[in-house]
Symmetry: C2
Subunit: 210 residues, 2 copies
């Protein structure tokens, strides 16, 4: 299958999440494009177009079979075997994420944490054990970890990214407030909360309408 547009991948993830909630809440088995769109604050065309991209088709006029759609999305965005993830930096944010993450996605498993602080090493949240940085190579290999969530202090981020890449990690989700530089075979996604907040502040002040 052709590689999907970034935005479509993001929305597919959200469709699935939303559909799972929807089934749980309303117990319906089918949903119209405009209903799903309304749940996500987007347009029905957008939904139909994304679904077209992944090649799923419903019987016309009946809406989409939710169970099937969830499955098809899974076939696209999940990998067949599950992917293992580690949190690097087991502080406030790292632990919050670990707590939250537990069993959230069947195909994404948070299997280890790493920290430099001897007081944190050995601790456990949600069955996720914290290891020292020295053991990173070993643990990453042992557990076949391919994605890291980076929540170390800013000053340590670049160095940690380097080490992670050496251990063989393939993707990084970076929550620290520095932009990392990675080779082109590593997929990097960055999120900065302050940027989001400043954006909200700007548009609260400047948006048309009132």
């Amino acid at each position: 299958m052709k590689i999907l547009p970034e935005k479509t991948v993001e929305r597919l993830s959200q469709y699935r999440r939303t559909l799972n909630n929807y089934v749980a809440e309303y117990g319906k088995s089918r949903i119209y494009s405009h209903e799903l769109a309304a749940l996500l604050n987007i347009t029905a065309v957008q939904v139909r177009r994304d679904i077209m991209f992944i090649g799923y088709t419903s019987v016309q006029r009946k809406g989409y079979n939710i169970k099937d759609l969830i499955q098809v999305i899974g076939n696209i965005i999940d990998s067949p075997d599950s992917i293992n993830v580690a949190v690097v930096g087991y502080g406030n944010l790292g632990k919050a994420i670990t707590t939250y993450f537990a069993g959230n996605r069947p195909k994404l498993k948070l299997v280890a944490a790493f920290d430099i602080d001897p007081k944190k090493v050995g601790s456990e949240v949600n069955n996720v054990k914290c290891y020292s940085i020295e053991r990173m190579r070993e643990i990453v290999a042992l557990n076949d970890i391919s994605i890291a969530i980076l929540t170390v202090p800013t000053h340590a981020a670049a160095e940690m990214a380097k080490v992670l890449i050496q251990t063989g990690i393939k993707g990084i989700l970076n929550f620290t407030t520095v932009n990392l530089h990675v080779p082109s075979n590593i997929y990097l996604e960055e999120y900065d909360m302050i940027t989001s907040l400043e954006k909200v502040a700007y548009f609260v002040k400047h948006r048309p309408l009132g």
Copy 2:
């Protein structure tokens, strides 16, 4: 000034952050577009175009005066008087954010937290006090809070958003895993960590190059 494109606003926030770090680290006073671009993994044209949008100009060929640029960005994305922010849901994530946020941005002040749990009400992190939901209207008015960061459990999110809007809040940064529905005069920004992670997983598997 004309309203800026969303992406430009996001990058301006990052330029400022990056420039502040850069000054602190290297003590230089000027920076070239390509240098700033490299720090953010984007192109120099992008930087110049954003800077064009905000109307700042340097002396040609000398690069940008960092101090001035930081200031001009501030004039654009900060509001003249500071904006007050509240965290709603003082759990793992809410507290992590509070700790992190402290004094991070001079013009964005985290001034209160709210929680439904009596054990949390009255507690304090980083001088940010937690209040009961009942006192929300009062505290929001008293402190002129216009932005809320929503970190309550998923099931409570829609209701809390409704209440927040009733109290007069103008922007919401939503970290819960449901999409909210707000009137068009409220600015809503949503971030879902699982979506980010699933995106990383997808592109780790599917990206061209190796």
